[in-house]
C-alpha cells in the first residue's frame, strides 16, 4: 500500500471527511485535561501532550453497557369460549375451573441490545492499540473461551488510526513489553509526525479503507518524508528505557506468590481503581440489574480488582480481603494469569498507571521486584523485608546477568 502524506493544516479536513462516514474519536483537551472524546468539527486534536488520561478503550468496551432490556407484563388470559365481560361482571357465578384459567400470569420479554456504530479512533498511540489486541484475546474466545458479541461488534466497527510517539515520556516502557513508539500491532494506519505533517502508512485493509474515505486530504509521501518518518521512529525507540527483562517474570511471580514483599509493595496503594480504569488493557467488569416498575435493564460496567467488594461473597467471606491480595492480583494477572491463558502479556507499557496513580505506584518497580527471584534468605535477615527502592536495581541487574 502506498505511503501517503497529510499536511498538518489538512488534519481538520481529513477528520472532517472521516466524520461524514463514521464517528471520529480523538484526544481533546478540556479544562486542561486530555481525554478521548467524540470529535466535532472545529475542535483541536491534542497530540502534543503524550497520552490522554485514559486509553480509548471506553469506546469499544463501554464503561456502562446495557445489553439486555426486559419488561414484565401480567397477562390475563381469556377463558376459552367464555364470555369475559360476563365473568367480570359476575365472578361468583363462574365455576372453579374457569377462575383458575383466568388467573393472570406473568410474562417477561427480553430484548438483547448491541449497537455498534462505525467509528474511527484517531490519535491513539501504539500502546493503546496494543491494549485492544490484548483485550481481543479475552473477548474473542482465544484458547477456547467464550466469544463476546458485545465487544466484538464494536471492535469490528472501529478503525484505529495511531500516531507515532515522537517524544516518549520517562514513564513509557512499551519496548520492554515488546512494542514500540511506532508499534504496528493492532494499528490500522500509522501516522508519523514529521516536519509539516504526517507520514501515513495504512497497515490493514480497514486502515486503507479509512484513508481512501478521506483521500482528498492526502498526497503521496515523498521519499524524503518517508525517510524522515523512519528517523523519527528510530529516534523515538532509542529514547525509551527498558526497565526490566521479560524472561522469568511469570515463573518468578508464581514462586513469589506468598512472598511478604507483596505487603511492602502494597503499602502505599489506597486500593482505588484508577490504574485499572486508565489502563488500555484492564477489562474486568461487573453485571448489574436495574428495575423500575415493570421494566428494567441489565448492564455491564467496569469494575476492578481493587474494589474491596469485588470478590466478597454473600456469606461475607472475601478471598481477597486484604489490600495486598488485591494488589498482587492485578500485577499477577498482567504478567502471569493472562499469559497462561492467552500467550501474551496484559500490559502494553503505556505507563498510565504510573502517571495517574494517586500515590504513583510504579508498575516497573513492582515487576522488577516481584518478577525477580526472591532474594536468597540471608542469615538472620529473613524477617526483615528489604525496602523496595533500595533493592530494585540490584535485583534487575542480577537478573540480566
Amino acid at each position: 500500500m502506498a505511503i501517503r502524506f497529510l499536511k498538518q493544516d489538512q488534519l481538520p479536513a481529513f477528520l472532517g471527511q472521516l466524520a461524514e462516514k463514521a464517528r471520529v474519536v480523538a484526544p481533546v483537551k478540556t479544562d486542561g485535561v486530555v481525554q478521548f472524546q467524540p470529535w466535532v468539527s472545529g475542535q483541536d486534536v491534542e497530540l502534543d501532550v503524550l497520552l490522554a488520561k485514559q486509553s480509548p478503550k471506553e469506546y469499544v468496551f463501554l464503561q456502562t453497557e446495557t445489553y439486555l432490556k426486559f419488561g414484565y407484563e401480567m397477562v390475563k388470559p381469556e377463558a376459552a369460549g367464555g364470555d369475559t365481560a360476563a365473568e367480570e361482571a359476575d365472578p361468583v357465578s363462574v365455576d372453579d375451573a374457569a377462575v383458575e384459567v383466568a388467573i393472570p400470569y406473568e410474562t417477561v420479554t427480553v430484548e438483547p441490545q448491541n449497537e455498534a456504530p462505525a467509528q474511527v479512533i484517531f490519535g491513539l498511540r501504539p500502546c493503546d492499540a496494543r491494549g485492544f489486541v490484548q483485550m481481543d484475546q479475552v473477548f474473542g474466545g482465544y484458547g477456547g473461551f467464550y466469544y463476546d458479541p458485545l465487544y466484538n461488534a464494536r471492535r469490528e466497527a472501529t478503525t484505529l488510526l495511531a500516531v507515532t510517539c515522537r517524544e516518549p515520556r520517562s514513564t513509557c516502557f512499551c519496548t520492554a513489553i515488546g512494542g514500540g513508539p511506532a508499534g504496528e500491532e493492532g494499528v490500522d494506519a500509522l501516522f508519523t509526525q514529521v516536519d509539516g505533517g504526517f507520514v501515513v502508512e495504512a497497515l490493514t485493509e480497514k486502515g486503507e479503507a479509512a484513508l481512501a474515505a478521506a483521500g482528498a486530504a492526502l498526497t503521496d509521501a515523498t521519499d524524503a518524508q518517508i525517510a524522515a518518518a523512519g528517523e523519527v521512529k528510530t529516534a523515538a525507540g532509542a529514547k525509551i528505557d527498558v526497565p526490566f527483562a521479560l524472561e522469568g517474570i511469570r515463573d518468578n511471580l508464581h514462586d513469589n506468590i506468598a512472598d511478604d514483599r507483596w505487603h511492602d509493595q502494597a503499602m502505599r496503594c489506597i486500593s482505588c481503581g484508577t490504574c485499572t480504569y486508565v489502563c488500555p488493557s484492564c477489562y474486568c467488569f461487573s453485571i448489574n440489574d436495574e428495575l423500575v416498575e415493570s421494566t428494567g435493564e441489565r448492564y455491564r460496567v467496569w469494575d476492578n480488582c481493587f474494589n474491596p467488594l469485588y470478590t466478597e461473597e454473600t456469606s461475607g467471606h472475601n478471598p481477597r480481603a486484604q489490600k495486598s491480595n488485591r494488589f498482587r492480583n492485578r500485577f499477577s494477572h498482567k504478567f502471569w494469569y493472562y499469559p497462561d491463558k492467552y500467550d501474551s502479556l496484559l500490559c502494553s507499557g503505556c505507563g498510565r498507571c504510573i502517571m495517574n496513580c494517586p500515590t504513583r505506584i510504579d508498575i516497573r518497580e513492582i515487576v522488577r521486584v516481584m518478577g525477580a527471584p526472591a532474594p536468597a534468605v540471608a542469615a538472620g535477615a529473613a524477617s526483615e523485608a528489604p525496602a523496595a527502592t533500595g533493592d530494585a536495581p540490584a535485583v534487575a541487574e542480577g537478573k540480566e546477568a
Partner: protein
Amino acid sequence: MADQTTTQANDAAVVAGDTAAAGTIDAASGAGAAVAADGAAGDRPVKIVGIVCNWCSYAGADTAGTGRFKQPPNLRLIRVPCTGRVDPLFALKAFEKGADGVLISGCHPGDCHYSEGNYYARRKFELLERMIHHLGIPKERFRWTWVSASEGQRWQQVVTEFVAGVEKLGPREGRAL
C-alpha cells in the same frame, strides 16, 4: 414482581438497624419506586416524595385523612422509624429518580418517640436545606418540618403549601439530580 418491593423494604430496615420497621418501610429504594409510579413526563402532575416518621407525621397524615381534610394527591409517603434514620441521601435519591419535591417531617422537638432522634436529624436537615440549591435543586423543592400525630390540620396545610410551591416551579425535567 410484587415481592420485589418487600425485599427492598427489608433491606432498608436492616440498614436502619430497626427490626421493628421490617416490612413497613422502604426508605431510599422506596423513594425511587414511589416516584416511578407516576405516568409519562410532559405536562404531568408534580411528584412529591414525603419521608415521615412513624410516630408523629405518619400518624398526623393519617389524622388528616381520617378527618377528611382535602389534600393534594401528589404526595407519596415513605415511613421511617424516626427522622433520625433519614440520611440526606434519601432526599437526593428521590430527586435522582425524578421527584419534583421532597418533604421530610417528624415529631416536634421534645416529642421524639426515641427522645432525641429528631435533635440529631434537624442538624442534618438544616445542612441539607442550606446545601440543596447549591446542588442545583431550587430551595422550594425541599422542605422539612414537624407535624405531630394530632395535627391533621397542620399536615394538610404543610402539604398544600409545599405542593403549591412545587407546582409553581412545575415538573423537574432534564436534570440529573
